[in-house]
Symmetry: C2
Subunit: 527 residues, 2 copies
């Protein structure tokens, strides 16, 4: 049941004066529930609880954290159709997407449950001492990853489940041993509260300390600002716009004690179509890309917003088929009126830029909050000289750039901002010919794809979701996959520490039977 | 031979107008050589060279980077007594220390050489694809760590070799595949130039690209500021004061493209002496700590500047023995007149604070630039209320705090800023009794030591040298040991990439025979 209140630890609370509602973009009406923005007192209380919970939770054995995470997954599933309906009402996304995204969310929780139950993720590293070493004895040193402390998570508008309340950031932070305070996304506050209720139930069922999780409602920027500036907060996870992520990064960097912010932000995900591929597979590629551009109404951070090719007939053909194909795709609903307004504004702005040619624009009358897809083309020189065209247009929109030669193509790539992904569409023999182009692209992205589409972010250990700024604020970490847990931990060394006072992961006997780097060898052996 | 010039890549250059000399604190005279501060043009040229070198160097196989690093070590040894004499003349440190620190420097270079030659450090992670998976095929994903780009290293005043020109930051960045630009420390510019000449020789002998290393002289802050703000620079390593490190961190965070800064800064390294240990081992402990406080004239980042105990006779005895013992230690020379001036000023400031009692202060007349050690005591309440006493006094100085009870001890620890190290002096059975004290200390430090001294930072995989701010600007990394290489790399994923175009580390055949995470299992097996 949605109450509109905040979860301050296990307790529902609504002491603030500011209220708001969510919106059903498909029906174009406000949803029924009223949400209470968290008050200053509620924020403080959530943080005091989180700091206290941290002292217990940080020492929780992997098996218990695993049970907690698995129970969150169970409780989310138990919300059943109530959750799916709230999701659809607050996002305008279809049922299949809701169910799919719930599956991804559950899968991530169970993945981290398995990781912490197994336990080797703590990178236990042991160098045993040597009293007889000269000139000075060698100390016994044992290193382990420990949780940073309370983490604040800002959910994403475009993934109400998988990158929000119990999404990747929360799952990885809880797995690491960090209490989490979610700054709920105002567009799907009801979905958020339902998921929060599942987390709280799971925390209670598995005996987790009160304060291990809180969910704070907020419509404006005030709650988030206070959270990031609060001394009890030790790290921040964010998924959203460059402007929003940068603002949080700046706040966090300017604190007396700066804290890490992992913000996964915008990206136009350049796709490079090399000439032979354009010539031989142009038509099928164009059809594939028409689908990728409009998938989820273009509301994916890996949406291909920029297609780069060499000025040839084959590229013209590709553009023509893409134009025809994308025009036949049924428009769909965006997440919120403000998002469709921004989309139309940014799209029109791009279409108005000098030197651009609109090759396809859906212009029929549509139901409110539906987005009209568009594709424009431009030559390389115009694109290079106009930074407006380099900005993300969040929605079903893409720019095709016809470059005069390989050099211009390489220059354009080298001048792009950091990106989540880059894609090379090529025939195998073109890889060697265009090495410099591919290397330039590698310098600007976090993941490079061969003959595919950037949409679809597989959750697996080898995934890198992040990249050079502004794809993310710290390219040294990923937001997706098991290694995303590394964002919320720090290495810690024990020197000459008595064996029975060490954490189990570092004891001589290796009682948890984890893989450890022992005197330079990775092994499950005890000492 | 010392020329006083900058190394702009392989070329010696001195086009700037600002000059300076270094100082021999032991003889209290200026050294003979004149150094030319790098000009704007020289800075730009070094960075253009570094960016170009990066494109070649980032692809350099591990065996070749290994040869480069080992040859640097050889060339440093080949400098022989010339280097040792320059080191002593510019630091006032004795020959034994110079030789020892050279050994540490060489050891670090060879450690990274071994690491990159073996090759598994890149954390190769492979998830093979599955075309038959429904509803969508599973892509093939392969992840590897790649170098960030040119790194700027600011050397430390107190380690002219091991944490300067070819020190830990430079060795780890070069091992990672990043070109390095050193902002030479003005106090030991000659030592720096000699080491730079060894690096340049090694680069030429092993066929590394011009620009893989540059060494820029600088007396003021201008060169460093320009380097950190330059768009070609992708990360910064720094060892030094909180003020200096924070200034660089702020500059880097405020860039249009923020870059990571790993600054290892100040620390007072709290030591907690529990009552039984104080009672039973007080005398020997006091003697040990008298040595640790004055080691290297107290000019170590792990110098024990704060000793916390419970108000008992045993603590009074400890203080008395410490006072007597430290008074018998022969004073030694500090690195530079400015350092001894700061030391005396900060020490006097601490001694003047209300409620402090000076228990030992060396007051005899000394040669210029020699430091007078001192120990003060204060009660817990006074310490807690006076933040001046929490600040590092860089030199042979320590404060002993007598806490009225365990609660006050815990409160003091919880209110400390982040520290590199914390030490517990205890009898084994006291560990359980003082769990909350030990846990409070763990929250504030990067390394915790049992019944030892914090000075002496072993170079090994299990070492963590860093800690919560302001011990370092990013507690998620270490400045010492093989894992310090992780500061300069980012993970990068290839999706569905053709096998023969992948880097060797990710090829099916595993031609480099490295350990990889293959479909969830750590293995040396090919696919």
């Amino acid at each position: 049941m949605i109450t509109g209140k905040n979860y301050i630890g296990n307790r529902l609370s609504a002491t603030g004066d500011n209220t708001y509602t969510t919106f059903n973009p498909k029906l174009n009406i406000e949803n029924e529930h009223t949400f209470y923005e968290a008050s200053q007192d509620e924020i403080n209380e959530a943080l005091i609880l989180a700091s206290t919970a941290y002292e217990t939770y940080k020492k929780m054995p992997g098996v218990r954290k695993s049970a907690f995470l698995n129970t969150i997954a169970d409780e989310i599933l138990a919300l059943d159709n109530t959750l799916i309906q709230a999701y659809m009402a607050e996002s305008g996304l279809p049922e299949g997407r809701a169910i799919g995204e719930r599956g991804r969310t559950i899968g991530q929780l169970r993945m981290f449950a398995k990781l912490v139950e197994e336990g080797s993720w703590v990178d236990a590293t042991i160098d045993t001492g040597d009293h007889n070493r000269t000139p000075i004895p060698k100390p016994d040193l044992r290193k382990i990853l420990i949780p940073l402390g309370p983490v604040v998570v800002f959910g994403a508008s475009n993934f109400p489940l998988a990158y929000s309340t119990a999404g990747g950031d929360t799952a990885s932070a809880l797995a690491a041993g960090c209490p989490v305070i979610v700054k709920s996304h105002p567009m799907h506050a009801g979905t958020g509260e339902l998921v929060a209720s599942a987390i709280i139930k799971a925390a209670q069922k598995t005996g987790m300390p009160n304060g291990v999780f809180s969910n704070l409602n907020s419509k404006g920027i005030e709650v988030g600002t206070q959270l990031v500036k609060h001394p009890a907060v030790k790290a921040v996870g964010f998924t959203g716009s460059i402007r929003g992520g940068r603002a949080l990064f700046d706040l966090a960097s300017q604190r007396p004690e700066p804290i890490p912010v992992f913000a996964e932000m915008g990206s136009i995900n350049p796709v490079v179509i090399l000439p032979n591929a354009a010539h031989n597979q142009g038509e099928i590629l164009a059809k594939t890309y028409a689908k990728s551009i409009t998938l989820g109404t273009g509301q994916f951070c890996t949406n291909p917003g920029l297609i780069l090719g060499l000025k040839r007939n084959s590229l013209d053909n590709f553009i023509q088929v893409l134009a025809n194909e994308i025009a036949t795709i049924e428009p769909s609903c965006m997440l919120h009126p403000s998002i469709v307004t921004n989309y139309e504004k940014n799209k029109e702005n791009a279409l108005q830029q000098k030197g651009t040619t609109t090759v396809s624009e859906y212009t029929d009358t549509l139901a409110p909050n539906y987005a009209r897809q568009a594709v424009v083309k431009v030559d390389g020189k115009t694109f290079l000289e106009n930074p407006v065209l380099h900005q993300e247009v969040f929605g079903p929109f893409s720019i095709v750039v016809a470059c005069k030669d390989q050099q211009e193509l390489e220059t354009i790539i080298s001048n792009l901002e950091g990106q989540l992904t880059g894609t090379i569409i090529a025939e195998n023999k073109e890889i060697k010919k265009y090495t410099t182009v591919i290397e330039a692209l590698q310098n600007r992205v976090g993941r490079i794809i061969f003959n595919g589409v950037p949409t679809g972010v597989e959750v697996c250990p080898a995934m890198l979701h992040g990249g050079p700024y502004p794809a993310s604020t710290d390219s040294r970490f990923t937001a997706v996959g098991i290694h995303s847990i590394k964002r919320w931990v720090r290495p810690f060394s024990f020197q000459n520490w008595p064996n029975d006072a060490l954490p189990d992961e570092l004891k001589n006997e290796n009682p948890l039977n984890i893989s450890r780097l022992l005197n330079g060898e990775q092994t499950y052996n005890p000492i």
